[in-house]
Symmetry: C2
Subunit: 109 residues, 2 copies
DNA sequence: ATATTGTATCGTAATATAGCGATATTACAT
DNA sequence: ATGTAATATCGCTATATTACGATACAATAT
């Protein structure tokens, strides 16, 4: 019926899918790349850099933030975004484990 | 307008997004996990295992295959799917580089 | 030739996603 | 108090994705 059937899959499969979803849009990849560069970026600057409107950029930022990968801090009226290094490390570990686990199962055969 | 604007982003950002898309659905993650286990699986078996219909499973298999991550081989009427180890390694490398690159930029600041 | 079996494809419906303009909200400045 | 600037949210449209039943296709078996 067009809705992803989350409940039939394992927690792990859902978790990996949720995190992969963050990177499944090139605008979000570009945002993460840019924030890595400037460390403490404004939405407006990001918006200009990646050439998407401010509302669209803001929405992508929310998606990444909801997943815990972004930190943000108000300084006056401006909001400075940066990557949460701990979460980033954690995310990397999750993918790494998945890749390695799959490989180890292959080589057993 | 609801269409991802691929052309405004870098090749690299698009490439990462395309590959992340493979893992952005728990059914596909589950399929990859299962194929890793059995090495040479039938669509039907996978379908039963992940509890999605045969057509749905077949579609997901095509998505993963189109990205080059699956190999398949007919033996009579049956089609045996397995993971392309080289491509898997390559995929892992791409994600690894992205994570590391982002981290290195963060630590410079 | 016909039946059976395993896959793929078609058609369709429902939900999700991506994008933007308009508007609201918030904080600082004057 | 009013204006300005940065961000977030609302409302909308168009496209993409997910899922399934029905059906077509291909290879073996009878």
């Amino acid at each position: 019926m067009g809705v992803t059937k989350r409940h039939i899959h394992s927690m792990r499969a859902n978790q990996i899918a949720d995190l992969a979803k963050i990177l499944s849009n090139p605008a979000r990849v570009a945002i993460i790349e840019y924030i890595g560069d400037c460390d403490g970026c404004l939405c407006q600057d990001i918006s200009e850099k990646i050439r998407l409107s401010q509302p669209t950029t803001s929405q992508h930022l929310q998606v990444i933030k909801r997943a815990g990968v972004l930190k943000s801090q108000f300084k006056g009226k401006a909001q400075y975004y940066s990557i949460d290094a701990r979460k980033w490390e954690q995310l990397q570990g999750l993918f790494y484990d998945f890749f390695e686990h799959t490989k180890s199962k292959m080589s057993e055969k």
